[in-house]
Symmetry: C2
Subunit: 415 residues, 2 copies
């Protein structure tokens, strides 16, 4: 794609009032646009990254047998009344709206009711279970303060997953697969090394809940990590009894600051009972479906990645989610330079490598600064000087390494 097709421009300053590092960088580089506090539009660069993350998650979920669908955003008040999650006293972050006939309806702020309600039409026997469903959609939460950029927005892009099992044993069996699937996701988006399964406080239905926590000093959760076993305990449940149960040695744990990027809830019959999502078991008796919840915020994940993977010059995105793999810059308007640049562009496109070609008539310094701010993994430079040497200049955004390569080396460099 030509950069001139991309209407966005970089900016030196983030808008006044934007306090979060992730949104500041993403706005300056032209990935997102701030509509209001906690509400962002995704500009072409940002949407490409969201979709890349979405595809990675989709691949990992489909590999474990999940099936995708899409629940409506407008949700029925009746369904919420059954689970006692309608009134402002119970759920104080729900954006609500009205039909003309003055019935109230709400925007999805989570999806347990929507899924359980749909499944009452389809589940009747133990033979129908288990079912694993997910849904990529926008979620709306009326947060009183929204100061974390895209890490905690009033509108955010989310994947909701729910598992529907006949009992706890079937539920648990599946959970082990999910641990691996999620670790795969974190590895593929570039957070694998600093993201750990963490035991946190349970709820009504289980002793522990499970989180994946990503380490960094900037964040506020405290966890205790066993760096060999790669397991952590959230401070909220950290005591000798828990250590004993998990077989962890206190002397081997390191205190770390972290942020939660994913968690699992064992819902059991919390939603299936009020919504009458039941099935006939092998003996013909009615049983409540046993539910689990495994949501992950796509925009939150991008926010975490940007907070962690950036430097003073801008964003540094991993290959797997970057909007393009190569940023192709040419300097000057010399005919030979433009011809060579076009040749490289066509070569890369023919190899199915995604290229952003900076075809703008800007000064070299501006082009370099923009390229560093946007943070595409590889920058290729074509100039009268590089042409003189018969080579191209290749720069790695992450390591800063610069080397000269020949045109013929493009294929091996990127494939």
């Amino acid at each position: 794609m030509k950069q001139s097709q991309l209407f966005t421009k970089t900016r030196k300053e983030a808008p006044a009032g934007e306090q979060s590092k992730n949104a500041q960088l993403l706005i300056r580089a032209g990935y997102i646009f701030k509509e209001m506090a906690g509400i962002y539009s995704y500009l072409p660069l940002g949407l490409r990254v969201l979709k890349n993350i979405e595809n990675i998650i989709r691949e990992e979920m489909n590999a474990v047998g999940w099936v995708e669908m899409q629940t409506s955003t407008l949700q029925n008040k009746d369904t919420r009344e059954k689970t006692n999650r309608r009134s402002d006293e119970i759920v104080d972050t729900w954006f609500k709206t009205e039909l003309k006939s003055w019935w109230q309806l709400g925007l999805s702020f989570t999806n347990e009711e929507a899924f359980a309600h749909i499944l009452t039409d389809y589940v009747s026997s133990y033979k129908d279970l288990p079912i694993y469903l997910y849904d990529f959609k926008n979620i709306f939460r009326n947060e009183a303060r929204a100061k974390s950029g895209i890490m905690r927005g009033r509108e955010f892009y989310w994947k909701a997953l729910y598992s529907f099992s006949k009992d706890e044993a079937q539920h648990q069996e599946f959970y082990e697969k999910m641990k691996i699937a999620y670790q795969n996701v974190f590895t593929r988006v570039g957070l694998g090394d600093q993201t750990f399964l963490t035991f946190a406080s349970g709820g009504t239905f289980s002793e522990f809940s499970h989180e994946f926590q990503t380490l960094a000093d900037i964040w506020e959760d405290t966890i205790y990590l066993d760096e060999v076993k790669k397991i952590a305990i959230n401070k909220e449940v950290f005591n000798d009894e828990v250590l004993y149960k998990l077989g962890l040695d206190k002397s081997k744990l390191v205190e770390k600051k972290a942020v939660e990027v994913w968690n699992i809830f064992t819902l059991a019959d919390k939603f299936s009972k009020p919504l009458k999502l039941t099935y006939k078991d092998e003996n013909g008796a009615d049983q409540d479906v046993f539910m689990g919840s495994y949501g992950i915020g796509i925009s939150r994940l991008l926010g975490v990645i940007v907070e962690l993977l950036s430097d003073g010059k801008g964003i540094i995105l991993p290959d797997s989610i970057a909007p393009f793999k190569v940023h192709l810059l040419s300097l000057g308007t010399d005919e030979v330079v433009l011809t060579e640049t076009q040749k490289i562009y066509q070569e890369l496109e023919s190899l199915w490598i995604e290229v952003l070609r900076d075809d703008r008539d800007f000064r070299a310094g501006e082009k370099f600064a923009d390229s560093d701010l946007i943070g595409i993994p590889y920058r290729i430079l074509v100039s009268p000087k590089t042409l003189e040497s018969g080579k191209l200049e290749l720069k790695n955004r992450k390591t800063g390494e610069v080397k000269m390569i020949e045109f013929g080396e493009l294929r091996n460099t990127f494939i």
Copy 2:
């Protein structure tokens, strides 16, 4: 994919109160779930079709140089006030909601303001134009009555496109490309033969607007079609003067019933002026950006397709948008049948052909009826009888044609 993974089941009857043919069929076949009047969730089959249509449109738009982004669903009241589209008296179908600080905000019911507002940050010179942007998203309209299924919902999946040009000439030049791109879309989704460019009443800014109208006796628009020139006139502007202007001969026109599947609006400065979306022209003078709008409802398009392409047994989807290309059925639990079915399944998957394998332990009659209702283009049957003949039974859902083919012919049949 195995059909047992698909939690949905077909049903003999549509829910009481559902009047539209499209929603009746789609609910019965398990493509959609009705949340409330005019609000539907997309079940796995339905989501696959929506995404197929979306991808066709995306390819055609990208080919003409459009760029994709995604505006937020929650929209600022201030922006709407500037264009005088906030109050219920002006826009009576807007779902509105509230922030805690009691500012009102709205859900997107159309996107002119959102796009124009974002572009004020990025457009300053004539060199920045033209810009062509689109956005796939859910749109919300508080329709007093919602009786047309997914053809006119309260929540629907839409692609908004807006062009931003420096003047009418630049705008018009682009419009010719859009006519071709949209005709490509209609052809690819199976409506090409009965969909025609139609002249309709203009607005403040142009003599005519342009629609694509799809023919069928069941619909209520009346158009006059020149079947040779493949151009039509909407009844609302049909008079001798217009005929003369368009160079059409009254005696060669045929009156037809039709439904609008797409239209274009020349917006000119209607939104750019109040939102101050201006640019400096070649002489340094401020000019309003000249806008055009080209939206298309994805769910509406699917509704039209289902209304048109169905028979007494169920839905008949074109190859290009069907959720799967092949429905693979086996009869009985005979070991040889199951092994042969698995072999065919693997062969088709290795050829990248999307297959739904009916692995359910159902009677033959039920499997056949479900297959016809769901309407996947090709059905392959494996049974003790077909195995005896050493062949497979291949049925074309659209023509009803049945023929016996050999395993070795699978590749040539589908590729």
